[in-house]
Amino acid sequence: MTITPTTPTVDQAWRTALAGRTRPPRPSALSTSLTFAWRALLKLKHVPEQLIDVIGLPVIFTLGFTYLFGGALAGSPRAYLNFLLPGTLVMTVVLVTTFSGVTLNTGITTGVFDRFRSLPIWRPAPIVGALLGDVGRYLLASALVIALGLVLGYRPDGGVVGVLAAVALLLGFAFALSWVWTTLGLVLRTPSAVNNLSLLVLFPLTLASNIFVDPETMPGWLQGFIDVNLVTHVVTAARGLMAGTATAAQVGWVLVASALLTAVFAPLTMRLYRDKP
C-alpha cells in the first residue's frame, strides 16, 4: 500500500509535479508519428496475441498452397513454388492489412483517442503512426513467407536485391491499402463489422487474381476482372522483381495505384477522424 496525502496540504512532491509549466517546443510531424509507431510496438509487446495473424497466415498459406496445388498445377510442389511464392507473399500481407481498420475502430471507442485528439499535435499522427507500426507487422509476415519459401526450395532469380525490392514495393502498397481500412474503421460501428467487410472485399480480390494460376486458362470475363484487379498488378510486379524480369511499367503501375489509394483514402480518413463525435 502506498501512502497518499489525505490532509489538505500541498506537499513538496506535488509542488514539483504541478510545476510543469514549461512546454517543450512542439515536435515535428515525423517525430510525433514515430512516437505513435512506438506505441503500436509497445502494444504488440504487451499483447503478443496480435501477432497470431502475421505468424499464422504465412505458414498456412505457404505450406498449404504449395502442397495442395503444387502437384496438380505444376507437376511438383517445388516447380510451383517459384511461381507461387511471390503471390503468397502478396496475399498474406494484403490480408494482414485489414488489422489496421480493426485496431483503429477498437481504439477510437476507448477514450484514449479523445486524449490524442485533444493534444496540440500533428492531427494525422495517431493514424499515420499506427500504420507505420503496422508496416512492422507486414515486414515480419514477409520475412516469414520468404524464409519458409527458401526452406521449401524457392530460389529467386532476382537475388537478394530483387526480393528486397519486391518487399519494399509491397509494404508501400500495403501502407496505401491500409487507408481504405482505416476509412472503414471510422465509418462502421464495431470492430467485427470492419473485419468482416474488409475480408469480404479482399477474398474476391485475392482469389480472382494471378496469385495461384496464370489467368490465360480462365473465361474472358474473368480475365477482364483480373486485368483491372489491383492485386494482380502487385503480384505481377512482385513476381517480376523477385525473378529479375520486372519492367518499369509493372512497378510504376503499383506505385501510381498506391499513391492514388493514399490520395483518396488518407484525406477521407482524416476528415472522418476530425468529425468523429
Binding site: 502506498t2 501512502i3 497518499t4 496525502p5 489525505t6 489538505p8 500541498v10 512532491a13 506535488w14 509542488r15 514539483t16 509535479a17 504541478l18 510545476a19 510543469g20 509549466r21 514549461t22 512546454r23 517543450p24 517546443p25 512542439r26 515536435p27 510525433t32 512516437t35 505513435f36 512506438w38 506505441r39 509497445l42 502494444k43 504487451h46 499483447v47 476507448t110 477514450g111 484514449v112 479523445d114 486524449r115 490524442f116 485528439r117 485533444s118 493534444l119 496540440p120 499535435i121 499522427a125 468529425d275 463525435p277
Partner: protein, 328 residues
Amino acid sequence: MTSQSTPAVETAGLAKTFGTTRAVDGVDLTVPAGSVYGILGPNGAGKTTTIRILATLLRPDAGTARVFGHDVVTEADAVRSRVSLTGQYGAVDGDLTGRENLVLLARLLGFPRRPARTRAGDLLDAFALAEAADRPVKTYSGGMRRRLDITASLIVTPRLLVLDEPTTGLDPHSRNQVWEIVRALVADHTTVLLTTQYLEEADQLADRIAVIDHGRVIAEGTPAQLKATVGSGAMRVRLPDPAQRARAEQVLARALGVPMHPASDPAVLSARVTDARRAVGALAELARAGIAVADFALGQPSLDEVFLALTGHPPQPDTTSKEEDDAA
C-alpha cells in the same frame, strides 16, 4: 500571454444537436481565469457535450466558444495547447503500463526521451502511483486509474484543466484524493472546469457553479447564491408506513411553516429548512401525532432538491443521456 482579465472560457449561444436531440441548446458560460468552475446537472443534461466542445473534440452547430480568447473551431490548435481534458471514460491505454502511458504523452508533447522519463517518474511519485508504475493500467483499481488519468493531463500543467465527472464511481478516499489534486492545481493558478452530478462536490470545490438541464443553463452563481435560491438546508423524513405520508405532510408543513415535497419514494417527505431547531420541533410534533419515523436527515439540499427548486421538476435522465453516451 493573455491578460488577467481574459476569461478562461467564454461561450455564447453554444448549441449541438445529435440527430433530433438538442444536447446543448444555447449555453452561455463565463469561467473566470484562476477559479474552479462547476457544471452541475443530471445525466444527459448536456455537460459532457459542452466540455467536449471546449476541448475541441466536437464542433458546435451554433454559437461560439473561446478558451483564453481563442476560438475552439478556428484556433483549435491554440486551444489544445492550453487545455487538458480528463474524460469520464478512461483516456489512458489499458494495455500499456502507467509509466509507458505518461512517457508516451510526454514524448508527444515534445519532451526528449530522457526528460520524458524524468517527468513521468516525478508525476508517478507525486500521485502515489510509483509502485504500480510498471503494471498494465488494466490491472489498476478505479481510483488509481482516475488518478493516472488526471496525472496524464498534467504533464505540461495546463492553463485550463477540464474534468468530466472526476469522482463518479470512486470510493470516498479516492474522491478526497481527486479533490486534493484539484485544490493544489488551483493554488498553482490553473483554472479547473469540472462537471458533477453532486451538489456537495460542486460546493466543496467550485467558486462558481452553473446548473444545466436539457442543454440550458438554468442557474449560475456562487455556491452560496445557489443555495440561497434553494434554501440553505433540507430535511428528509422517511416513514415506516407510506400510508401515513399524507397525515405526516400536514403535521410537518404546519410545524415548519413551509410546503413539503413528496419524494418519488412513497415513504419519504422533504422540505427546505433554514433553521435546525424548527426541524427538531417538527419531529417532536410528528411523535405527538403518533406518526412513527423510520429515519430522518437534515443537511444540504441534494441535487434533486436544487432541481426541484429551480425547475419545478425533479431531474429525470431523458433521451439525451443515450445520445451523450453514444457521443462520448
